[in-house]
Structures are given as structure tokens and as C-alpha cells.
């Protein structure tokens, strides 16, 4: 009987233990342990536990609402009216909210936001997005059929590419520092991360020599097919110049790489001398042969920018110059996920097609928007640069500050003893002693022996945060 039990237990272990090696390779984000500890401390504070600080401030995540940003009223009013159409008969809501909600409901099957939509999203919203993109790009045409509304669009697109093993394994060039989730998604699909370092000293620029080096090295062990760029940068906040984008496009064309452009922070440009220019527009302006051959997927989302509606999971991808047979397969692949959550689609519609001048909600909407995007980036950067042991490149765009920590050798040694990345150790101490939760640079990848912090910059209580950071 005992042997039977032992065998059973041993067998039980073996059924699932042999999971795909791709999954084991995903590096768990360090953020989790910080978040857990922050949650514990928050709970303890609520229960009246003594701490050298009264409130915990969490500015580590790219989640504006969690950080205290208020949602845009118009967005939430429209959504609530779509959810509960009886509100349309009340005097509670402004006229433009009602007409937008009525309009949207008419687009939905059965006039309910509880219905599935078409795979790529409600056609009206695809259309709004195409017009939004075209306006943004100074008239470059955008076709609704090339716009797929989907949350998690980056992962879906990666699934198209990634296959192969050994030297045929698909590689995607990704910036360092970068979004850890993209790298995790790529690894989990069995793809190879091909890192190219952004140049910190030059303000986190993309350097062609570095990209060529990375590519040449990668070609020895995998099959690089794509180039992932983030503009404005996450977490580094660089905003690419038009020339830089042209260089990257030329590089992608020469090296036969599919361009994946994450442009979710396109609203967040703080430096008045910088301007967001989309990859699509630059590609178009370069003319043939580039404009009609270079394959591009651009990603945007309602999670960032002035709406910050991360929880609604509304995003889209626009494809440029894709093979039409491939587009057919993309559609089939996307269709297995049914459709994107309708609330997220509504948020995108409003992002693409906000209230117009003369509409009841216009003033409030754009005031909300101004307040949200109004950014302390310059002040943050100056303050950080004034601190001993910290330096920060100009924060031209995006929503994070990514200052470099110049840690004393003792601190680095102590961290290594503890088996923890030095910047993570710093973050944990900052959390315990100051009640301030920021993210470690280590989870973004960074040049060896450099350490950074990451935190969001566009919150109202910035003045409170800075003194804490300063004194620490």
C-alpha cells in the first residue's frame, strides 16, 4: 500500500512537471515582491501600525489610476450610459455623452455592450481610429481593414512570427532598457530576445552601430526577423527624432526586419523641442521603395496617455505593407479570441474621436487631458540630477523617470551577498524606510554594472514624493 502511495505521488509529480522549457525561461518580474511588500505595508498602515511615514506612495507601476489619477469624466459617463441605458433618459448626463452612448449602442448587436463584436472591433470604432491616425499623420491614409482592435496585441503579433529551434529560432531585436513584459512574452513563445543597447550618455538614443553589432551577433545563433522599438521610450523616455526613425526604417529594410513599433506613449511628450512622429508617417514620407515594402505593426492603447484606462484593456495594432495571405491568417488567429472587451473599445473610440469644440463636455474633457499630461518631468529630472549619487537623462516623453543610481561599492557588494540586484535592494529599503514604492532598473535589463530606478512622473502629488526621494 505504501509503495502504491509513493508511486502515486511520484507519478503525480511527473504528469505536469515536464512543462515546456519555454515557460521555465520566463523571468519573473521583480516587481511582484515589491508590490506584495507594498500591499502588506499598506494593510499595516490601515490597521494603525507605526511607521516613519503616514501613507504609502506607490509610483512604481505604469498605472496612472492606481497612482491617483482621476479618470476622464466624459469617458466614464459614456461607459455608464452604455452599460445602463436608462441613464439616457435622465437629466444627469450631458447631451454629448448621451448622443455618443446612443450612437455606440446602435453599433452593438442587440444594442447591448454585452454582445460580442466583430473580431477586429466595432467597425465604427475601427473607422474612428483610422481617421484619428490619418489626422495625426498629417493626412497619410489609414485603412480600417488594417486596424485590429485587441488587447494584448503585441503578443498576438509575436505569435505570427515566432517559431523554430536552434539556429532557426525566431529572434526579435529589443531595446535595453525595455518593457519586461514584451521580453517575457517573446520568451514564453519560444523566441529569442536580441538585445540592443540604447545609448544612455546621449539621452537613450538608438545607435545604428549598436544595432548592427547586436544583429550580427544574433545571426550566429538565431534567425532575427523583427525589430521592436518603443517610441516614446519605456522606461527611458526618449523621443526619437524623424531622422532617427528614418535611420531605423532604412536599417530594417536593409536587414529584412519586420518593424514592431510600440507607440503607446505618443501623447506623452514633455520636451517642447521634441515631437512625436509616428513610424508610419515617416515611412510614408520616405517614399518608395520603403513606403510600400517595409512591413510595420504599430501599437497604441487607451491604457496610457491621458486616459490611463489600463483596466479596460483597450488597444489596437495597425498593419502596414503586410502580405495579404498573411493578413488572412492574422484574422483567423485573432478570431479565436472572440473580440476585445467592449468597454475597452469604447475608451478607444473616445481617444480617437474626443468631444469637439462646442460640445457640452469639450472644455472639461480637454482640461482633464491637460492636467493629466501636464508633467513634472523637467522638475523631476532637475531634482534627480541635483542629488548625489543620481543622474538622469532628459525625460523627453513617456511616463517614467529612469535615473541612474551611482551606488557605493559597499552597497553593491551587500546586494550581491544577498543574491539580489543592487537596485532592487535599494527599492526595498526605500519602501521600508520612506514608504515610497519605485521600480528597479534590473527588471528592464540595463548595461552590466549600471543600476537604475523607475517611477512614474505625472502624478499630482509629485511635490510630496520628491522631498522623500531627496532626503533618502
Amino acid at each position: 500500500m505504501k509503495n502504491e502511495n509513493n508511486r502515486r505521488i511520484k507519478n503525480k509529480m511527473s504528469v505536469l512537471r515536464a512543462i515546456s522549457p519555454d515557460l521555465s525561461r520566463i523571468r519573473l518580474v521583480d516587481q511582484d515582491c515589491l508590490s506584495k511588500r507594498a500591499a502588506q505595508i499598506r494593510e499595516a498602515l490601515l490597521q494603525g501600525l507605526e511607521r516613519p511615514f503616514k501613507h504609502l506612495i506607490d509610483i512604481s507601476l505604469g498605472d496612472a489610476h492606481r497612482g491617483g489619477l482621476q479618470p476622464i469624466t466624459f469617458v466614464r459617463q459614456v461607459i455608464s450610459a452604455c452599460l445602463y441605458p436608462s441613464l439616457l433618459d435622465s437629466g444627469r448626463l450631458p447631451t454629448d455623452v448621451k448622443s455618443r452612448a446612443r450612437n455606440l449602442l446602435k453599433q452593438c448587436e442587440g444594442e447591448s455592450v454585452g454582445s460580442y463584436t466583430a473580431t477586429c472591433g466595432l467597425p465604427k470604432i475601427q473607422h474612428s481610429l483610422s481617421e484619428f491616425i490619418s489626422r495625426r499623420d498629417r493626412g497619410v491614409p489609414s485603412s480600417p481593414e488594417n486596424i485590429f482592435i485587441t488587447s494584448g496585441s503585441q503578443q498576438l503579433v509575436l505569435r505570427l512570427f515566432v517559431h523554430g529551434k536552434g539556429s532557426l529560432q525566431t529572434g526579435i531585436m529589443t531595446p535595453v532598457p525595455s518593457s519586461p513584459l514584451f521580453n517575457m512574452a517573446l520568451s514564453s513563445l519560444g523566441g529569442a530576445v536580441v538585445p540592443y543597447h540604447l545609448c544612455e550618455e546621449e539621452g537613450w538614443t538608438l545607435r545604428l552601430d549598436e544595432m548592427r553589432r547586436a544583429l550580427a551577433t544574433a545571426r550566429r545563433h538565431c534567425n532575427p526577423m523583427g525589430l521592436y522599438v518603443i517610441n516614446p521610450g519605456n522606461p527611458v523616455g526618449q523621443v526619437q527624432s524623424q531622422k532617427s526613425i528614418e535611420d531605423v526604417i532604412r536599417f530594417a529594410a536593409e536587414e529584412k526586419l519586420f518593424l514592431l513599433a510600440d507607440e503607446v506613449y505618443q501623447d506623452s511628450v514633455h520636451d517642447p523641442t521634441a515631437e512625436f512622429v509616428s513610424y508610419k508617417r515617416v515611412l510614408h514620407e520616405m517614399g518608395p521603395p520603403y513606403s510600400n515594402t517595409v512591413e510595420l505593426a504599430s501599437f497604441n492603447s487607451a491604457s496610457k496617455g491621458f486616459m490611463g484606462e489600463c483596466g479596460l484593456r483597450g488597444g489596437y495594432v495597425e498593419f502596414v505593407n503586410l502580405d495579404s495571405a498573411v493578413m488572412g491568417h492574422i484574422y483567423t488567429l485573432f478570431s479565436t479570441e472572440a473580440c476585445t472587451a467592449v468597454m475597452g473599445q469604447i475608451a478607444l473610440d473616445i481617444m480617437a474621436n474626443p468631444p469637439r469644440s462646442g460640445d457640452a463636455s469639450y472644455t472639461a474633457f480637454f482640461e482633464n487631458r491637460r492636467n493629466t499630461l501636464n508633467n513634472n518631468a523637467k522638475r523631476v529630472q532637475e531634482t534627480l540630477n541635483s542629488l548625489d549619487g543620481m543622474s538622469c537623462q532628459p525625460i523627453r516623453g513617456g511616463i517614467y523617470a529612469f535615473p541612474q543610481l551611482h551606488l557605493p561599492a559597499r552597497a553593491v557588494a551587500k546586494a550581491e551577498e544577498a543574491g539580489v540586484a543592487p537596485d532592487l535592494l535599494y527599492c526595498m529599503l526605500l519602501l521600508e524606510e520612506m514608504g515610497l514604492c519605485v521600480g528597479p532598473g534590473s527588471e528592464h535589463l540595463q548595461r552590466k554594472d549600471t543600476h537604475h530606478l523607475r517611477y512614474i512622473t505625472h502624478l499630482p502629488d509629485e511635490p510630496i514624493v520628491q522631498p522623500r526621494a531627496n532626503s533618502y
Binding site: 504528469v15 521603395p289 483596466g311 488567429l333
Partner: protein, 488 residues
């Protein structure tokens, strides 16, 4: 420069260079026939003359699209969660306000616009666990084993990702019923897993015979490593509700053969036939005693899209894992974090589904009335569908015991089959396309779900409102008789 001539010809992403597994993915529910239906709708809008004035989409399990009304309480709470200023509006009852406040408390910054933890909002997972305990007569449920998902599909695909490994002869095989809901075949194709088919017994009301499971498994073991068994109960597309005995048999089989059980239970409230009852796999497992309940590994899936809610557009769902190896669970938790979090409104809705108004609360009587009306209307339409289809010679429809579909068998004349084959079309696709062109009714051919060789079926939802459904069924009847005549 020389590169200019090269790059004009060759794209990076072509059907040859893309992930070849993706090419094998098909999903009939939104496949070619639906694309044609959408085209026809456009043509009608443009004024093109057709023998019908509207397209009826009886292809997809979308209740609201067919006019089903949402549950008032749910929409009230969700409206307040979206726009909390409504919390001081007198039109909303106190119990709805209480739920909204509680949900908002669980959200970052008290906003549904904040990301939640990847596994889902904690208080929602706790409520799900309590629901499962109540539903299953007290069998304990740990919130830590509950993962909120983007519809049930997200959970199903995630579990399959976790399960699929190995190469060649040790490549993971996953057992799935034929007919099946094509999400499974699509996911298995994309993952490059081996799909191991077990046939449901059409002659016996689509029941599951363990002997058939044994046959399928033995066959499969010759060329792959079967590790999981998927079962959809109540069934899609077949609508059968498995008996308790059957569920026990399946559990015993899974235990003996060391298979991970995946129980897709999204239609758990959609049970219509007399004598049929939904038994959750988890409940039966635990009632079978520790020999099974402490060893059989199980994942159960649920969703906000079906049952009496029909809220497909919210993409709400959850899965519960039972007896999962802790190391594997750690991998699962890691895997879900890659996709950030499920849509928060869907999580909020799931909270309400598992924590509906209780007796004594202001919204209770309306809630019960609405739920009952919806479910009994579905039951009536299920019965009607079966009854009418069975009056058509050449169409045989098993009782629609549950779920939302009929899956009748159609006998096609040999000439029709030949013509279909000449066109390179599956015969039932040929049939359904013709039906679409002549009547505007969009169904999904049985070939999209799998069926025994030489048999043909279609899946039609029972969702159109009764009047429309009767018209639909009579049109199908007329079409079928014409079709048979034409191809005799």
C-alpha cells in the same frame, strides 16, 4: 544600392516564413461562412436585391445579439463602478451600491481603470471561491486556486500552453470530444500539440462512453504522450448534459490513466431537459473520496458569456485549479502575469455573477424573476428547436438538453456531396452556404466542430427570440426540402 532591387520582391513575413502552426488554425464559428454573411449584410445595406431582408446570425452563442436583456442588477452595479458619481443617485438600490463600493475598494486607486493583479482582484477571487463552495455543497475552495481570466477561452488556452511539451513521440496529446468547440482544435493546432479525438455517441444523445475514451487513448499512445482530457459539460455544440455516473467514470478514467482533466463548464446554468442536472466535476471528484480527490488534477472553467447573463462583450471568466503541483502552479502564475490582467469590468461582472442578490435584499425579487424568465425562455426554445427540426425528413436532432445550440444531423444526397467535393468544399459547408445565400440564415457547418466520417451536421443557436426562431426553423425546413429535391 543593390538592396533596393532585392527588397521590392521579398517580404519578411510571408506564409512561408511565418509560424507554420498558425496556418493550421481554423475557427469555424467566425470562419468563412460568417465572413460571407457579413458581406451579404453589406450588400443588403447597399440595396442589392435578395430573397430575404435580413441576415440572421444563428452561428454564434451571443444571447444579447438576439435580443436577450441583461440582468438589471448587474448593469446597475457596473454603471456605478464605471462612474462612481452615480453612487449618490436615488434610482439605484442600496444593495447595488454596496456591491459597487466593495468592488471599487478592491481596485487600484478605486478605479476600474487600474490594472488588477494578474490573477485577478482579490475580493473577487474570494467571492468566486465562496460561490464554488456553495454550489458544490461545501467542498472547500481556496481563492488562491482561482484565476480570473479573459473569458473562459483565455484560461483554457493558458492551461493548454502549460500542458503542451515534448517532441516527436513524446509530444503532448490532448483528448477532446468530437464534436467539439473549435477553440480547442485551434489552440492545439497553434501549440503544435496532438489532438486526440474521442467520439461522443450520437445514437445515445451524444453521451460519453468510457470505452471510446479507452480506444482513443490506446491509439494515441502509439504516437504521442496523452496528458490531458478535455470535456465540455453541458456540451458545445452537442448540448448534452452528462449524467453523474458518466462524470464519475471519466474521473476514474483520468485517475487511472494519469490525465489532467479540463472541465469546460461555461453552460452550467443552461440545463433544460427533465431529468438532467449539472454536476460540477469538482463536486463529484470530492464526493468520490480522497483516493481521487487528493490526486486527480483538474481545471474547471466558467465564464460570464453564457448561462443567464449572456454578457459576452465583457470577456469575464475564471478557472479553478485542483491538486495542481505547486511548482507547476508557480509557472502558471508566471504565465498569466505576461498578459497583465483580464479586463476589470469583466472581473467586476464575475463578482456579481458569483455573488448575486440574496433573499431579503432589495434587488432579489427582480433578479430572480429576470433570471428565471431568461432560463425558461431558453428551455422553451431548446424544446421548440428539437421538435420542429425533427419534423423534417432528413434532419435528425438530438434533444437539446442544455447549452445554447442544436446540432442536428442532415442526410445529404450523393449528388450534393459530389458537387461539394468538386468545389473543394466540405458537403455541410456547401449546404450551409447555399442556405445562407437563399435564406440569409447563417449557421456553422458540422465540419467546423468535427463529426464522424460520412456524417454531416450544422450548429444552430437556439437564441433568436421565439417568433423569429419559428420563422427560422420553417425556412430551414423549406430550404432542406428544396435542397433534397434539387440534388436527388
Amino acid at each position: 544600392k543593390s538592396h533596393q532591387t532585392n527588397q521590392c520582391v521579398c517580404k519578411v513575413l510571408t506564409v512561408d516564413t511565418m509560424n507554420s502552426c498558425v496556418k493550421k488554425v481554423e475557427y469555424a464559428v467566425r470562419g468563412p461562412i460568417v465572413l460571407r454573411a457579413v458581406q451579404i449584410e453589406k450588400e443588403l445595406k447597399e440595396g442589392v436585391q435578395k430573397p430575404f431582408s435580413e441576415v440572421i446570425k444563428a452561428n454564434i452563442g451571443d444571447a444579447h445579439a438576439m435580443g436577450q436583456q441583461p440582468i438589471t442588477f448587474f448593469r446597475q452595479v457596473l454603471a456605478m463602478c464605471s462612474y462612481p458619481e452615480l453612487l449618490d443617485d436615488d434610482r439605484f438600490p442600496e444593495d447595488a451600491k454596496g456591491r459597487a463600493r466593495r468592488i471599487l475598494q478592491g481596485c487600484g486607486g478605486q478605479s476600474i481603470g487600474a490594472y488588477s493583479a494578474s490573477q485577478g482582484i482579490e475580493c473577487v477571487r474570494q467571492d468566486v471561491a465562496r460561490y464554488v463552495e456553495r454550489r458544490d455543497g461545501g467542498v472547500p475552495s481556496d481563492p488562491d486556486n482561482i484565476y480570473l481570466t479573459t473569458g473562459a477561452s483565455d484560461g483554457i488556452v493558458t492551461m493548454l500552453k502549460l500542458l503542451v511539451a515534448g517532441e516527436g513521440r513524446s509530444r503532448t496529446g490532448v483528448m477532446i470530444s468530437i464534436p467539439q468547440y473549435p477553440l480547442y482544435s485551434a489552440a492545439l493546432a497553434e501549440l503544435g500539440a496532438v489532438q486526440v479525438n474521442y467520439f461522443l455517441n450520437e445514437e445515445r444523445c451524444w453521451s460519453l462512453d468510457v470505452s471510446e475514451l479507452r480506444r482513443a487513448l490506446a491509439d494515441a499512445r502509439r504516437h504521442c504522450n496523452p496528458r490531458a482530457l478535455c470535456i465540455i459539460n453541458p456540451g458545445n455544440p452537442t448540448g448534452q448534459v452528462q449524467s453523474r455516473q458518466c462524470i464519475e467514470d471519466v474521473i476514474r478514467f483520468a485517475a487511472k490513466e494519469r490525465l489532467f482533466l479540463m472541465a469546460d463548464e461555461v453552460y452550467q446554468d443552461n440545463v433544460y431537459a427533465e431529468g438532467c442536472e449539472f454536476h460540477s466535476f469538482k463536486k463529484v471528484l470530492f464526493e468520490m473520496g480522497p483516493e481521487f480527490s487528493s490526486t486527480v488534477e483538474l481545471a474547471s472553467f466558467h465564464s460570464t458569456s453564457k448561462c443567464y447573463m449572456g454578457e459576452c462583450g465583457f470577456r469575464g471568466g475564471y478557472m479553478e485549479v485542483v491538486n495542481m503541483d505547486p511548482e507547476v502552479k508557480a509557472q502558471l502564475t508566471k504565465l498569466v502575469s505576461v498578459r497583465l490582467c483580464p479586463p476589470v469590468p469583466g472581473q467586476a461582472l464575475m463578482d456579481l455573477v458569483v455573488n448575486p442578490p440574496q433573499p431579503g435584499e432589495p434587488s432579489y425579487s427582480t433578479f430572480i424573476r429576470e433570471r428565471k424568465a431568461t432560463l425558461s425562455s431558453l428551455a422553451e426554445r431548446a424544446r421548440l428547436t428539437e421538435q420542429i427540426l425533427n419534423t423534417v425528413p432528413g434532419i435528425a436532432c438530438n434533444p437539446v438538453q442544455g447549452a445554447m445550440y442544436s446540432f442536428p444531423r442532415v442526410t445529404l444526397p450523393a449528388r450534393a456531396i459530389r458537387e461539394a467535393e468538386e468545389r473543394g468544399q466540405a458537403p455541410d459547408m456547401f449546404y450551409c452556404m447555399k442556405l445562407l445565400e437563399e435564406t440569409g440564415i447563417c449557421l456553422v457547418p458540422g465540419s467546423g466542430f468535427g463529426q464522424r466520417d460520412g456524417t454531416f451536421h450544422f450548429r444552430m443557436t437556439i437564441l433568436p427570440p421565439t417568433d423569429k426562431l419559428k420563422i427560422l426553423l420553417s425556412k430551414v425546413k423549406d430550404f432542406h426540402q428544396r435542397f433534397i429535391q434539387q440534388y436527388s
